[in-house]
Amino acid sequence: MDVLKKAFKKSIWVFHLSTAGCNNCDIEVLELLTPRYDVERFGIKLVGSPRHADALLVCGAVNAHAKPRLLEVYRQTPKPCLVVAFGSCGCSSGIFRDSYSIVGPVDKVLREEDPDVKIVYIPGCPPKPEAMIEGIVMGLGAI
């Protein structure tokens, strides 16, 4: 089992989910796939379906419309899985905090569904690529 657990840390497949973000973080994520930061070195790649994912990368303050979708995608992801609350909005709802349509940052919404969910916070608007890599590494240490 230990070998498989180690394999897990060497091969993180990420599903990218935008929950009412401003699209800034979504664009910035792509920087990780470029030659300069290339995260495929660590076995990280983007996949098209939450069923294949080991990590959910959630960008954006969650609004009422996106909340059921976020929960649904979280339920669809096979466990164990890591959730990355990405950007200032993902971590704390950012400047949209007390807006009428916002139902909370990512952690608050997901903790209602699963109190034991493992969440990594990567603040920044948008976060620097170095910060993203560090966040993922710290999250893997916690598993």
Partner: protein
């Protein structure tokens, strides 16, 4: 006992999975280098499979449970059998072993059929779009490939793998003639489509259908599928080597790397095609080229 050893250990399951997963790494590494990236470490294929085995398997509610889990195993078993037949003939391991080229080609089709079954049983609308594309693609690339296989078999006057290799040893390899070069172009396109790689990855279009036909596969089921795909990536180039060169083990390694690099280059320099373009390509251009190659072979050019 000897056959079981062949099937499970040496040219079969274990050997083929190790080589196949290393080839998957080679594929990703060379693709990365083409894009000026660093690429994954050599054990990436093994790590992916191990990780998927560690994860939870989710069987969709609509799916026929045991079938959903058994189908990829059928695919894996048949692909392993095909690779075993090919390697036993290529390495000249067993005297009097009769392998049949048509059987091998259809054993390679079973993973696609298993995948079609899984995709359609999963009850996901995006999967079913992927399924319809996979069925059309299967019909499309089978026609030119069968023409090529029949042409080569008629040249050697036998469907047996050994006879095809022997004929080429005596009369020179197929690729050294015009008909062989044309047929090789056809065969490598069909191989690319059979492996479900770009530009023919429309059944599992990641950005368009969210992995399409693979959408509902998770954990161990996906691991078995990835493994059978890796073994297929090992087996199909060997199939081409037997059809066009008929070489033994030493020249075979170089040719294997050559064909793999060719497949990677095709993957990295082409965009995904639409299904109607793929059908037109295989039933029009490729079948035409295959028939032309057959005529050339008949008149001995």
């Amino acid at each position: 006992m000897k056959l079981l050893f062949y099937y499970l250990i040496f040219p079969g399951f274990i050997f083929a999975s190790v080589i196949g997963l290393l080839t998957v790494w080679l594929d990703r590494k060379v693709s990365a280098r083409i894009q000026w990236r660093q690429g994954p470490p050599w054990f990436q294929g093994f790590a992916d499979i191990g990780k998927l085995l560690y994860k939870e398997v989710i069987v969709p509610e609509e799916a026929f449970g045991s079938g959903f889990i058994a189908a990829p195993l059928f695919g894996l078993a048949s692909v392993t059998l095909a690779v075993t037949i090919l390697c036993v003939s290529l390495f000249n391991m067993s005297e009097g072993f009769i392998g049949d080229i048509i059987v091998v080609w259809y054993l390679f089709a079973i993973p696609a059929i298993a995948l079609i079954y899984m995709g359609s049983t999963s009850g996901n609308p995006l999967s079913s779009v992927g399924v319809s594309r996979e069925i059309k693609l299967l019909l499309a690339y089978d026609l030119p490939m069968i023409i090529v296989i029949v042409m080569i078999a008629s040249k050697a006057d036998s469907f047996s793998i050994r006879a095809i290799m022997d004929w080429q040893r005596i009369n020179g390899s197929n690729i050294s003639n015009w008909y062989g070069i044309i047929a090789f172009v056809v065969a490598i396109s069909c191989t690319q489509a059979k492996l479900g790689r770009v530009p023919f990855d429309l059944a599992e279009a990641e950005t368009e259908l969210g992995s399409g036909i693979l959408l509902e596969l998770s954990g161990g089921v996906l691991a078995v599928y990835e493994l059978s795909k890796a073994i297929m990536l090992f087996g199909l180039p060997i199939f081409l080597i037997i059809l066009f060169w008929g070489k033994g083990i030493i020249g075979g390694v170089l040719l294997y790397l050559l064909i793999i690099v060719l497949l990677i280059l095709i993957k990295n320099t082409n965009p995904r095609v639409r299904i109607d373009q793929a059908m037109k390509y295989f039933w029009g251009w490729m079948s035409g080229a295959a028939i032309l190659a057959g005529l050339l072979a008949h008149f001995g050019v």
